[in-house]
């Protein structure tokens, strides 16, 4: 089993470096090549179980991955109880160094402690690891019926600037200004990643979402960068959609969209809207891409402190994020296996956790997935 897996990985690896080799602008190519240098030794990945239901679902992930024979060794890191002066937050310097070293990570839900004098955990991760793109695939899970059956799209959101720069000030009493910043560099970076992703995953259309009729210079710059990158990929259709039209089309007919690339604020809203279309944040995987090919997959739901420790949590989001991580590492065969197992378990309907309308516990659900492998 392991030898066959190694052979398969090397084969897939050759093809992928052929696809990615021509495009030198992405750091992802170098990271993949590096991962394959050690095809017989397991890949180390950082795992942040997080708070609340985090540890339980992280256990779930570890179990499924071991059963599937995924050659990953987990390096677990927990959020500290004191503020680390080097990072100014509860995340320790070692944790961040570990992600920088391993280049891949999986993160569970983290609750930011309330208080001042430290940065929020997500902000720390984002700034320190320079995570510039947030990728969220949204597809209807067969077997879990929502009002929308034919959703199959991916939202790619610029994650560092835009409206969330946090630069606000009070001009005079009662008047507040907030700065929205768009730079050429960041827009090019996320556009490059979006088109690269579309190409490697066989997607045919990339839509840039904007409001450039009102915000002409800022979203206009974003669009210009997207257009430049689009010219380099003539086989992918490129279109631009104004955000209010996009919202309406998404709720009327989500099948119209394929890959969406957007600046920060629109991305936040649209990606949550799309998550709502397929069943909520409990089922949505997500992956953050950083400079130098760093990929941190995460579950975007909250830490649900009220069901923590009761074996009731739904591990689907973290599992699907793990699958995204595997695909990033080009371990496509195992990714496909685990993915089908999850889909089949949910489709069958016999083992479903409470939020999907069933009554299984986390461990039963995990076992069902392992049985399907």
């Amino acid at each position: 089993m392991t030898m066959a897996a190694n052979l398969a990985r090397r084969l897939i690896g050759n093809r992928s470096t052929q696809i990615l080799g021509a495009d030198s602008s992405s750091g992802a190519a170098t990271s993949v090549a590096r991962a394959f240098c050690s095809s017989s030794t397991p890949i180390t990945a950082t795992l942040f179980p997080g708070d609340g239901i985090g540890p339980e679902i992280a256990e779930s992930v570890k179990k499924v991955f071991t059963t599937a024979g995924v050659p990953i060794e987990w390096e677990e890191h927990y959020v500290g109880t004191e503020i680390d002066p080097r990072t100014q937050s509860f995340l320790t310097w070692d944790s961040l160094e570990s992600v920088r070293r391993n280049k891949v990570g999986l993160k569970g839900p983290m609750a930011t402690p309330i208080g001042k004098g430290h940065r929020s955990l997500n902000l720390t991760l984002r700034k320190e690891l320079n995570l510039y793109a947030n990728v969220r695939p949204c597809y209807s899970l067969p077997g879990y019926k929502t009002r929308y059956d034919d959703v199959d799209l991916i939202t790619i959101r610029e994650n560092t600037e835009g409206e969330y720069s946090g630069l606000e000030h009070q001009v005079v009493r009662g008047v507040v200004e907030s700065l929205k910043i768009i730079t050429r560099q960041a827009s090019l970076r996320v556009a490059e990643y979006a088109f690269l992703y579309a190409k490697t995953h066989g997607r045919e259309r990339v839509s840039a979402i904007h409001k450039a009729n009102i915000m002409q210079k800022t979203d206009g710059l974003f669009l210009k960068c997207c257009r430049e990158v689009a010219e380099k990929y003539p086989e992918i259709t490129y279109e631009e959609v104004v955000i209010d039209n996009c919202c309406m089309m998404l709720v009327k007919n989500p099948a119209l969209f394929d890959v969406l690339v957007m600046p920060n604020l629109y991305g936040d809203i649209i990606s949550d809207l799309c998550a709502g279309l397929v069943g909520g944040l409990g089922l949505t995987p997500s992956c953050n891409i950083g400079e130098d090919g760093v990929a941190l997959a995460e579950a975007v739901h909250g830490s649900a402190p009220d069901i923590a420790g009761k074996n009731l949590a739904n591990p689907t989001a973290l599992l699907l994020s793990g699958v995204m991580m595997l695909r990033h590492l080009k371990l496509n065969e195992q990714a496909e296996q685990i993915h089908s197992a999850i889909i089949n378990t949910i489709a069958e309907g016999k083992y479903r956790t409470a939020d999907l309308g069933g009554s299984s516990t986390t461990t039963e659900f995990t076992k069902a997935i392992c049985d399907h492998l």
Binding site: I214, C247, K252
Partner: protein
């Protein structure tokens, strides 16, 4: 005659709480002497499907013999600014009916829709997203009014290039405007018997800007003890809208979020082709199709004349109420609702294949 009253009776019994149901005869509206004099309304056909749908409204108004005269002005979306005479006319008439004005993307021309709103200080934009009986959508029980601040926020138009490759845009929130819109939203809820007002924000990230907006809303909420007030973050709000829209009643939002929420809510209730909406200020009012004022359809629809006039017809009914002609408004709404419910004559976005003219004829025929 018996058949019509039977159908009306069945409609009344089926849907007693829908605002579209008109009582068979209204006896409580007592006009003042002279109220029947015709009012002049500025009409701006606009671009794209604009002329088509405003033409539809004109036809229907004539058929009803409504005491409304239209003063028509040509404004195109690619003009530098709205002509002085148009603004003068709106200031004189106080009411305007408008088709869409397309803003060219990245063209360096500031949006004419925004210009009109800022000059006339029309600070509240209202979109009523409600399930129309007979139109099957994925969501039921949708009855949301989105009240959106219309003059400031992200649409201030203050952008500049700091250095080549870095552009800044200012989002301005003032206490004055936030309070104004909050007061309007609560008053609307109070006067229209609405139970809940929800403020939509992103104050966890934009602490000062949206924080100021929320503060203003909270202050106004204290004065209306009969109305429930709650707050929701905009991304969660979109998710809830798609999953459980019946939990929302009146929503008050700053400019950009309002645009998105209005379009999303319009989409789940049937599409922007059907939702009425208006913009209102202290002295003037502009009525146009509910969400997406800048959406003028594509050339194909214009050529084939298949634009959906329902949104503008319902907005003109709102306009008739604003002008204090409630029975005309009721008649128009009933007729339009009947046409949609019958389902024989619908344009493409509602799943049918009729032209605009056919829908107009059907509405005129349905007028009593």
């Amino acid at each position: 005659m018996a058949r019509r009253s039977a159908s009306m009776l069945s409609r009344l019994l089926a849907n007693p709480s829908s605002p579209f149901t008109a009582p068979s005869r209204s006896i409580t509206y007592m006009p003042r002497p002279g109220d029947g004099a015709p009012r002049i309304v500025t009409l701006i056909p606009g671009d794209g499907i604009g002329p088509l749908v405003t033409g539809a409204v004109e036809q229907v108004m004539e058929a009803m013999h409504a005491p409304v005269h239209f003063e028509r002005y040509e404004v195109r979306g690619n003009m530098r600014k709205v002509p002085e005479e148009v603004i003068e006319s709106v200031k004189r008439n106080k009411v305007c009916l408008k088709g869409g004005l397309a803003t060219p993307v990245g063209g360096g021309v500031s949006s004419l829709n925004m210009q009109l709103r800022k000059e006339l200080d029309i600070y509240a934009s209202l979109v009523n997203c409600i399930n129309v009986p007979g139109l099957v959508t994925r969501h039921e029980n949708v009855d949301i009014v989105v009240i959106r601040e219309n003059t400031e926020g992200e649409y201030s138009g203050l952008e500049h290039e700091v250095v080549p490759g870095v552009v800044e845009s200012l989002k301005v929130i003032t206490k004055f405007c936030s309070e104004r819109i909050a007061r309007y939203a609560f008053e609307y809820a109070y006067l229209n018997n609405r139970k809940k007002v929800t403020a939509v924000h992103k104050a966890n990230i934009m602490k000062l800007a949206d924080g100021l907006f929320l503060e203003s809303c909270r202050e106004v909420a204290k004065k209306y003890s009969g109305i429930t007030y709650n707050e929701i973050i905009v991304d969660n709000c979109c998710m809830q809208l798609v999953a459980k829209p019946e939990q929302f009643d009146v929503m008050v939002t700053p400019n950009l979020y309002g645009n998105l929420i209005a379009n999303t809510a319009a989409g789940i209730a049937g599409g922007t082709g059907v939702m009425p909406g208006g913009n209102v200020g202290a002295e003037h009012a502009i009525f146009e199709q509910g969400a997406s004022a800048g959406n003028v359809g594509n050339d194909k629809i214009v050529e084939q004349k298949k634009a959906n006039p329902v949104a503008l017809l319902l907005s003109s009914a709102m306009m008739l109420r604003h002008l204090r002609f409630p029975t005309f408004a009721d008649r128009l709404e009933t007729a339009v609702k009947q046409v949609i419910q019958e389902g024989k004559c619908r344009t493409k976005d509602l799943g049918g294949d009729c032209t605009t003219q056919e829908v107009v004829d059907a509405v005129i025929a349905a007028l009593e």
